[in-house]
Symmetry: C2
Subunit: 233 residues, 2 copies
DNA sequence: AGGTTATAGTGTAAAATTAACACTAAGTAG
DNA sequence: CTACTTAGTGTTAATTTTACACTATAACCT
C-alpha cells in the first residue's frame, strides 16, 4: 500500500480493516493464536491476524476470510468485539479496525494449522510477547468480553472438543473467570441446567479413573431458552 | 457527495460514519431522540443523527461531535455499540457505520434542544416511526445493550436528573427491563449498596406525600468497586 | 376545616439458592 | 498388588430472594 506519502493527500477517508483475536484452550491456561508479521511495519513481530475490508464483504465476512486465509481457521464461533479508531494506531496511514474474536477447539485446529504458510503460534494469555500496533489493547478487550460473557452465554463449549469431561469444562471456566470453583457445586449446577448430554464413552489411557464424556445439546438448549430459561453460571 | 456513480469506480474503501442512538426518560416510557432528514435519500424521514468520520478524529470523537452538532447534546454518557457494515445499508454508496448510544437527562436537555436548527423529536421506543437506512436494526441493538447492561452497571442514573426519587429510579428500571419490580425489595437492595446519598430536599407540588430526593455518589461508588464490590440489581 | 385521593415509606417470614465440606471408586504405573 | 491420581457423589448452614399490606403525608376538593 502507500508507503511513505502522507495519507491525508491520498484519501479523504480512513482505511477499514479487521483484526481477529483467536482463543484456544487445551486444559491448562487460555491461549491465543498469533501470527508473525512478514512485512513492515513491525516486521517479524507477533500480531493478530488482520486485513483490509473489501468493498463486497461485510466486516464479519472479512473477519472470517482473514481467519481462514491467515490462520487456517474455519467454521468457528466469531463475534464482533469493538472498533478501534485511534488516529495513530497504524504508522502507515489512518486505519480503523473492527476487531472480532473467535473461539476455536484447539485440538481440531492442529490439523488445519499444518496447511498454513504463515508462521502461527499459540501463546498463553499470561505470557504474550509484545504485539504489533495496538493489538495488546485489543487482546485485553477481547479477554474482558470473553470473561464477562462466559457466565451468561454458553460459549465456553466452543473452546472444547465436541466430547468433553466435566473436569475439562470446569478447568475452562476457572481459567477464563480466574477463580476456583467447587467441583460438586459446579457439577450440580451445570448438570441441573439439563442441556448436557451424558455419553457412554469415557476417557482412555489416563492414569486414573476414566471420566465420562458429555456433549452440549444445542437442540435442548434452544428449546430451554425459548421456554424462558436463562443460562447463568 | 458522489450522487449517482457506482462507488466501486470512485473509491477502493468503504466510507466510515457514525450513528447515534440517544435515549431519554421522563417517568413514563423510554424515549429516543430522532432527527428528520433534510436531504435524500430518505428525505423527510426520521433517522438517527449521524455523519462521516473525519481523518483527524476517532469514531468516538465523531459521535460526540454529531451529538452536539445534530442534536445539541453534550457532556453525556456515550458508549460504542456495534459496527454495522451491510453492503447495501446505504443506497448512495458503501458506508460502514460505527454506532454509539448516548444516555441523556431529558429534562436538562430540553433547554439545549431549543438552540437546534434541525427538526428533532422524542419518540416513545414502542411507537417509533419507520426509520431511514438500517436504523431500526441499530435501535434494537442499542436497546438490547442498554437492557443487558443496566443490571450490572450503574448507568441508569445517566437518564435521570442529578436529584431523583427512588420511585423514579424504580420506574426507570421497570421501563428498561420491561418487568415489574417490588417496591420494598427494590429500595432495600439499591439502598443497601450504599452509594445513594439521601438528600434533605423533597419533591414539591405533588398531590401526595412528597418523596425524598437521592443522588448517585460517584466517589462512594468508585471506592466500593475498588474494594471488589460489584453492582448488580 | 375535613374528607378524598394519590403516592411515599416501611419489616417480616417463607422459599430458593449458594457455599462449604470429605470420602469412595476406578484406572494406570510401577 | 500397591501407590498414585483424578472421578464422582450429598448434606447442612448461610445467604439471598421473594412475597406481601398497612400507615404517613401532601395537595385538592367541597
Amino acid at each position: 500500500m502507500n508507503q511513505n506519502k502522507k495519507y491525508q493527500y491520498e484519501y479523504d477517508r480512513p482505511a477499514l480493516a479487521t483484526d481477529c483475536v483467536i482463543f484456544g484452550f487445551d486444559g491448562g491456561e487460555l491461549k491465543l493464536l498469533l501470527i508473525e508479521r512478514e512485512k513492515e511495519p513491525f516486521k517479524n513481530k507477533w500480531a493478530l491476524p488482520g486485513g483490509f475490508v473489501f468493498m463486497n464483504e461485510t466486516t464479519e465476512e472479512c473477519a472470517k476470510r482473514i481467519l481462514l486465509e491467515k490462520a487456517g481457521v474455519k467454521n468457528v464461533f466469531v463475534e464482533q468485539l469493538y472498533t478501534f479508531s485511534d488516529i495513530d494506531r497504524d504508522p502507515r496511514e489512518r486505519i480503523v479496525s473492527v476487531a472480532y474474536f473467535a473461539l476455536v477447539d484447539k485440538h481440531q485446529y492442529e490439523v488445519i494449522a499444518g496447511r498454513d504458510t504463515l508462521k502461527a503460534e499459540w501463546f498463553e494469555l499470561s505470557k504474550l510477547p509484545k504485539l504489533a500496533f495496538d493489538h495488546t489493547k485489543i487482546v485485553k478487550a477481547a479477554f474482558q468480553r470473553l470473561k464477562g460473557k462466559v457466565s451468561y452465554q454458553p460459549i465456553g463449549f466452543e473452546l472444547l472438543n465436541e466430547k468433553f469431561t466435566l473436569s475439562q469444562l470446569q478447568a475452562l471456566y476457572e481459567s477464563i473467570l480466574e477463580i476456583e470453583i467447587d467441583k460438586r457445586n459446579f457439577r450440580k449446577k451445570i448438570l441441573g441446567m439439563g442441556f448436557l448430554k451424558a455419553l457412554e464413552e469415557k476417557e482412555k489411557n489416563v492414569a486414573h479413573k476414566a471420566a465420562r464424556f458429555y456433549s452440549f445439546d444445542k437442540k435442548v438448549y434452544k428449546d430451554l431458552t425459548q421456554k424462558g430459561f436463562h443460562f447463568e453460571l
